[in-house]
Protein backbone atom coordinates (compact mmCIF):
# COMPACT_ATOMS: atom_id res chain seq x y z
CA UNK A 1 0.00 0.00 0.00
CA UNK A 2 2.65 2.50 1.04
CA UNK A 3 4.79 1.59 -1.94
CA UNK A 4 2.04 2.25 -4.47
CA UNK A 5 1.09 5.56 -2.91
CA UNK A 6 3.27 7.86 -5.03
CA UNK A 7 1.97 6.21 -8.19
CA UNK A 8 -1.57 6.40 -6.90
CA UNK A 9 -1.03 10.08 -6.09
CA UNK A 10 0.12 10.76 -9.65
CA UNK A 11 -2.82 8.87 -11.15
CA UNK A 12 -5.18 10.74 -8.90
CA UNK A 13 -3.68 14.10 -9.79
CA UNK A 14 -4.22 13.29 -13.46
CA UNK A 15 -7.78 12.15 -12.88
CA UNK A 16 -8.56 15.26 -10.87
CA UNK A 17 -7.15 17.45 -13.63
CA UNK A 18 -9.34 15.73 -16.24
CA UNK A 19 -12.42 15.98 -14.06
CA UNK A 20 -11.82 19.69 -13.53
CA UNK A 21 -11.34 20.01 -17.29
CA UNK A 22 -14.83 18.59 -17.80
CA UNK A 23 -14.56 14.78 -17.82
CA UNK A 24 -16.78 14.35 -14.78
CA UNK A 25 -17.22 10.61 -15.44
CA UNK A 26 -13.73 9.98 -14.11
CA UNK A 27 -14.95 10.92 -10.67
CA UNK A 28 -16.46 7.44 -10.33
CA UNK A 29 -13.01 5.88 -10.69
CA UNK A 30 -11.40 8.45 -8.46
CA UNK A 31 -13.50 7.65 -5.41
CA UNK A 32 -13.81 3.88 -5.89
CA UNK A 33 -10.80 2.96 -3.70
CA UNK A 34 -12.23 5.01 -0.82
CA UNK A 35 -15.89 3.98 -0.82
CA UNK A 36 -15.54 1.47 1.96
CA UNK A 37 -13.54 3.77 4.22
CA UNK A 38 -16.08 6.54 3.89
CA UNK A 39 -18.91 4.23 4.87
CA UNK A 40 -17.02 2.84 7.87
CA UNK A 41 -16.20 6.36 9.01
CA UNK A 42 -19.82 7.50 8.65
CA UNK A 43 -21.24 4.37 10.28
CA UNK A 44 -18.91 4.57 13.26
CA UNK A 45 -19.89 8.18 13.79
CA UNK A 46 -23.64 7.93 13.12
CA UNK A 47 -24.31 4.40 14.42
CA UNK A 48 -27.01 3.84 11.81
CA UNK A 49 -26.56 2.08 8.46
CA UNK A 50 -29.05 4.09 6.42
CA UNK A 51 -27.74 7.42 7.75
CA UNK A 52 -24.17 6.29 7.17
CA UNK A 53 -24.87 5.37 3.55
CA UNK A 54 -26.59 8.67 2.91
CA UNK A 55 -23.77 10.58 4.60
CA UNK A 56 -21.14 8.79 2.50
CA UNK A 57 -23.08 9.71 -0.66
CA UNK A 58 -23.39 13.31 0.48
CA UNK A 59 -19.67 13.45 1.22
CA UNK A 60 -18.84 12.21 -2.29
CA UNK A 61 -21.13 14.80 -3.88
CA UNK A 62 -19.53 17.49 -1.75
CA UNK A 63 -16.10 16.30 -2.80
CA UNK A 64 -17.14 16.53 -6.45
CA UNK A 65 -18.51 20.05 -6.10
CA UNK A 66 -15.47 21.24 -4.18
CA UNK A 67 -12.87 19.34 -6.13
CA UNK A 68 -11.23 22.56 -7.32
CA UNK A 69 -10.40 23.43 -3.72
CA UNK A 70 -8.50 20.18 -3.16
CA UNK A 71 -4.84 20.97 -2.67
CA UNK A 72 -2.43 18.52 -4.20
CA UNK A 73 -0.05 18.72 -1.24
CA UNK A 74 -2.45 16.68 0.86
CA UNK A 75 -3.65 13.14 0.14
CA UNK A 76 -6.93 12.83 -1.70
CA UNK A 77 -8.05 10.03 0.64
CA UNK A 78 -7.39 12.17 3.71
CA UNK A 79 -9.35 15.01 2.15
CA UNK A 80 -12.31 12.72 1.44
CA UNK A 81 -12.23 11.32 4.95
CA UNK A 82 -12.29 14.80 6.47
CA UNK A 83 -15.27 15.78 4.32
CA UNK A 84 -17.07 12.65 5.50
CA UNK A 85 -16.23 13.41 9.11
CA UNK A 86 -17.67 16.91 8.74
CA UNK A 87 -20.84 15.64 7.10
CA UNK A 88 -21.26 13.15 9.96
CA UNK A 89 -20.55 15.82 12.58
CA UNK A 90 -23.15 18.15 11.09
CA UNK A 91 -25.74 15.40 11.14
CA UNK A 92 -24.98 14.56 14.76
CA UNK A 93 -25.29 18.22 15.68
CA UNK A 94 -28.61 18.46 13.84
CA UNK A 95 -29.97 15.38 15.60
CA UNK A 96 -28.88 16.72 18.94
CA UNK A 97 -30.63 20.01 18.33
CA UNK A 98 -33.87 18.29 17.42
CA UNK A 99 -33.72 15.71 20.17
CA UNK A 100 -32.35 18.03 22.84
CA UNK A 101 -29.79 15.37 23.58
CA UNK A 102 -26.87 16.16 25.77
CA UNK A 103 -23.42 15.95 24.31
CA UNK A 104 -21.56 12.78 25.13
CA UNK A 105 -18.35 14.76 25.15
CA UNK A 106 -16.53 14.41 28.43
CA UNK A 107 -14.37 17.36 29.42
CA UNK A 108 -10.85 17.04 28.09
CA UNK A 109 -9.31 16.99 31.55
CA UNK A 110 -11.71 14.45 32.92
CA UNK A 111 -10.28 11.59 34.93
CA UNK A 112 -7.73 9.07 34.17
CA UNK A 113 -8.58 5.96 32.16
CA UNK A 114 -7.02 2.74 33.37
CA UNK A 115 -6.50 -0.30 31.18
CA UNK A 116 -7.81 -3.79 31.94
CA UNK A 117 -5.17 -5.59 33.96
CA UNK A 118 -4.02 -8.89 32.58
CA UNK A 119 -1.24 -11.20 33.57
CA UNK A 120 -0.61 -12.50 30.11
CA UNK A 121 -1.92 -12.03 26.61
CA UNK A 122 -1.98 -14.54 23.82
CA UNK A 123 -2.24 -13.05 20.39
CA UNK A 124 -5.80 -13.14 19.03
CA UNK A 125 -5.38 -13.85 15.31
CA UNK A 126 -7.44 -11.87 12.80
CA UNK A 127 -9.10 -15.08 11.59
CA UNK A 128 -11.47 -14.70 14.54
CA UNK A 129 -13.08 -11.88 12.55
CA UNK A 130 -14.80 -14.59 10.54
CA UNK A 131 -17.05 -14.98 13.57
CA UNK A 132 -20.01 -12.60 13.55
CA UNK A 133 -20.07 -12.33 17.35
CA UNK A 134 -16.45 -11.15 17.37
CA UNK A 135 -17.16 -8.56 14.68
CA UNK A 136 -20.17 -7.36 16.63
CA UNK A 137 -18.15 -7.09 19.83
CA UNK A 138 -15.55 -4.92 18.08
CA UNK A 139 -18.19 -2.74 16.38
CA UNK A 140 -19.95 -2.16 19.69
CA UNK A 141 -16.74 -1.17 21.44
CA UNK A 142 -15.87 1.34 18.69
CA UNK A 143 -19.27 3.01 18.53
CA UNK A 144 -19.48 3.14 22.32
CA UNK A 145 -16.45 5.44 22.53
CA UNK A 146 -17.37 9.03 23.39
CA UNK A 147 -17.45 11.13 20.23
CA UNK A 148 -14.20 13.06 20.63
CA UNK A 149 -12.31 9.84 21.27
CA UNK A 150 -14.09 7.96 18.51
CA UNK A 151 -13.16 10.61 15.93
CA UNK A 152 -9.50 10.55 16.70
CA UNK A 153 -9.38 6.76 16.90
CA UNK A 154 -11.08 6.43 13.51
CA UNK A 155 -8.81 8.95 11.82
CA UNK A 156 -5.58 7.63 13.22
CA UNK A 157 -6.05 3.92 13.85
CA UNK A 158 -8.67 2.99 11.26
CA UNK A 159 -7.99 5.47 8.43
CA UNK A 160 -4.28 5.59 9.10
CA UNK A 161 -3.84 9.36 9.19
CA UNK A 162 -0.72 10.70 10.86
CA UNK A 163 -1.06 12.55 14.16
CA UNK A 164 -0.44 15.80 12.28
CA UNK A 165 -3.10 15.03 9.65
CA UNK A 166 -5.58 14.04 12.35
CA UNK A 167 -4.88 17.30 14.21
CA UNK A 168 -5.44 19.33 11.04
CA UNK A 169 -8.63 17.45 10.20
CA UNK A 170 -10.06 17.94 13.68
CA UNK A 171 -8.76 21.48 14.10
CA UNK A 172 -7.02 20.67 17.39
CA UNK A 173 -3.40 20.54 18.50
CA UNK A 174 -1.22 17.48 18.01
CA UNK A 175 -0.85 17.25 21.80
CA UNK A 176 -4.61 17.03 22.08
CA UNK A 177 -4.75 14.32 19.43
CA UNK A 178 -2.20 12.30 21.39
CA UNK A 179 -4.14 12.63 24.66
CA UNK A 180 -7.45 11.67 23.05
CA UNK A 181 -5.89 8.83 21.14
CA UNK A 182 -4.33 7.45 24.27
CA UNK A 183 -7.70 7.52 26.05
CA UNK A 184 -9.50 5.97 23.09
CA UNK A 185 -7.03 3.11 22.89
CA UNK A 186 -7.08 2.54 26.64
CA UNK A 187 -10.89 2.50 26.65
CA UNK A 188 -10.90 -0.05 23.85
CA UNK A 189 -8.35 -2.21 25.61
CA UNK A 190 -10.36 -2.00 28.83
CA UNK A 191 -13.57 -3.14 27.14
CA UNK A 192 -12.19 -5.53 24.59
CA UNK A 193 -9.36 -7.37 26.30
CA UNK A 194 -11.64 -9.22 28.77
CA UNK A 195 -14.33 -9.77 26.12
CA UNK A 196 -11.91 -11.17 23.58
CA UNK A 197 -10.40 -13.41 26.22
CA UNK A 198 -13.77 -14.97 26.90
CA UNK A 199 -14.87 -15.04 23.25
CA UNK A 200 -11.63 -16.49 22.04
CA UNK A 201 -10.37 -19.08 24.51
CA UNK A 202 -6.65 -18.69 24.92
CA UNK A 203 -4.95 -21.88 23.89
CA UNK A 204 -2.80 -24.05 26.04
CA UNK A 205 -3.78 -22.98 29.52
CA UNK A 206 -6.71 -25.02 30.72
CA UNK A 207 -7.05 -27.26 27.69
CA UNK A 208 -3.55 -28.38 26.86
CA UNK A 209 -4.87 -30.70 24.09
CA UNK A 210 -6.22 -27.77 22.03
Amino acid sequence: MTMTQPLQGRDEAQMIASILAGDSQQFHQLIRPYERRLYVMALSMLRNEADAEDAAQEACLKAFRNLATFRADSKFGTWLVSITLNVARNRLRRNRLTQMESLDIPPEEQGHVSPALLRDWREVPSEVLERAEVRRTLQNAIVALPEIYREVFLLRDVEGLSIKEAAETLGVSEASVKVRLHRARTMLQKTLAPELKSLVPQKGRWFPWL
Partner: protein, 86 residues
Amino acid sequence: MVIDCKHVWNNISGYLDGTLDPALLQQVQKHLEQCGICSAILDSTRNILILTADERVFELPLGYSDRLHARLEANIRGISPSPIGG
Protein backbone atom coordinates in the same frame (compact mmCIF):
# COMPACT_ATOMS: atom_id res chain seq x y z
CA MET B 1 15.13 6.25 37.37
CA VAL B 2 12.58 3.55 38.06
CA ILE B 3 9.06 4.21 36.83
CA ASP B 4 5.88 2.60 38.07
CA CYS B 5 3.14 0.75 36.17
CA LYS B 6 0.78 3.73 35.98
CA HIS B 7 3.46 5.81 34.38
CA VAL B 8 3.93 3.09 31.78
CA TRP B 9 0.18 2.86 31.07
CA ASN B 10 0.14 6.60 30.42
CA ASN B 11 2.77 6.13 27.77
CA ILE B 12 1.56 2.97 26.03
CA SER B 13 -0.01 4.93 23.20
CA GLY B 14 3.11 7.02 22.67
CA TYR B 15 5.16 3.84 22.79
CA LEU B 16 3.06 2.27 20.04
CA ASP B 17 3.31 5.43 17.91
CA GLY B 18 7.03 5.79 18.51
CA THR B 19 6.63 9.33 19.82
CA LEU B 20 8.32 8.93 23.22
CA ASP B 21 11.55 10.81 23.76
CA PRO B 22 14.61 8.55 24.03
CA ALA B 23 15.05 8.79 27.81
CA LEU B 24 11.42 7.94 28.53
CA LEU B 25 11.42 5.23 25.87
CA GLN B 26 14.33 3.56 27.58
CA GLN B 27 12.58 3.64 30.97
CA VAL B 28 9.38 2.24 29.52
CA GLN B 29 11.24 -0.49 27.67
CA LYS B 30 13.15 -1.49 30.79
CA HIS B 31 9.93 -1.66 32.78
CA LEU B 32 8.21 -3.72 30.10
CA GLU B 33 10.98 -6.30 30.19
CA GLN B 34 10.39 -6.86 33.88
CA CYS B 35 6.66 -6.39 34.30
CA GLY B 36 4.26 -9.06 33.06
CA ILE B 37 1.18 -6.92 33.62
CA CYS B 38 2.43 -3.95 31.62
CA SER B 39 3.69 -6.12 28.79
CA ALA B 40 0.29 -7.90 28.67
CA ILE B 41 -1.41 -4.49 28.49
CA LEU B 42 0.90 -3.44 25.68
CA ASP B 43 0.40 -6.70 23.76
CA SER B 44 -3.37 -6.66 24.18
CA THR B 45 -3.61 -3.00 23.13
CA ARG B 46 -1.51 -3.62 20.03
CA ASN B 47 -3.53 -6.73 19.20
CA ILE B 48 -6.83 -4.89 19.66
CA LEU B 49 -5.71 -2.05 17.39
CA ILE B 50 -4.87 -4.56 14.66
CA LEU B 51 -8.28 -6.22 15.02
CA THR B 52 -10.31 -3.01 15.15
CA ALA B 53 -8.57 -1.64 12.03
CA ASP B 54 -9.36 -4.79 10.04
CA GLU B 55 -11.62 -4.29 7.05
CA ARG B 56 -13.77 -7.24 8.06
CA VAL B 57 -15.10 -5.56 11.23
CA PHE B 58 -17.69 -3.54 9.34
CA GLU B 59 -19.61 -5.05 6.44
CA LEU B 60 -20.82 -2.91 3.59
CA PRO B 61 -24.57 -3.05 3.01
CA LEU B 62 -25.55 -5.02 -0.07
CA GLY B 63 -25.69 -2.74 -3.12
CA TYR B 64 -23.93 0.14 -1.34
CA SER B 65 -21.52 0.83 -4.17
CA ASP B 66 -24.20 0.64 -6.88
CA ARG B 67 -26.42 3.09 -5.04
CA LEU B 68 -23.52 5.45 -4.41
CA HIS B 69 -22.53 5.57 -8.07
CA ALA B 70 -26.12 5.87 -9.22
CA ARG B 71 -26.63 8.90 -7.02
CA LEU B 72 -23.35 10.40 -8.20
CA GLU B 73 -24.27 9.76 -11.80
CA ALA B 74 -27.62 11.47 -11.36
CA ASN B 75 -25.88 14.51 -9.90
CA ILE B 76 -22.71 14.91 -11.90
CA ARG B 77 -23.76 13.92 -15.41
CA GLY B 78 -22.77 16.59 -17.82
CA ILE B 79 -21.63 19.10 -15.23
CA SER B 80 -18.17 20.07 -14.07
CA PRO B 81 -17.14 20.86 -10.53
CA SER B 82 -17.36 24.59 -10.02
CA PRO B 83 -14.08 26.48 -10.34
CA ILE B 84 -12.52 27.93 -7.21
CA GLY B 85 -14.71 30.64 -5.79
CA GLY B 86 -17.42 29.88 -8.35
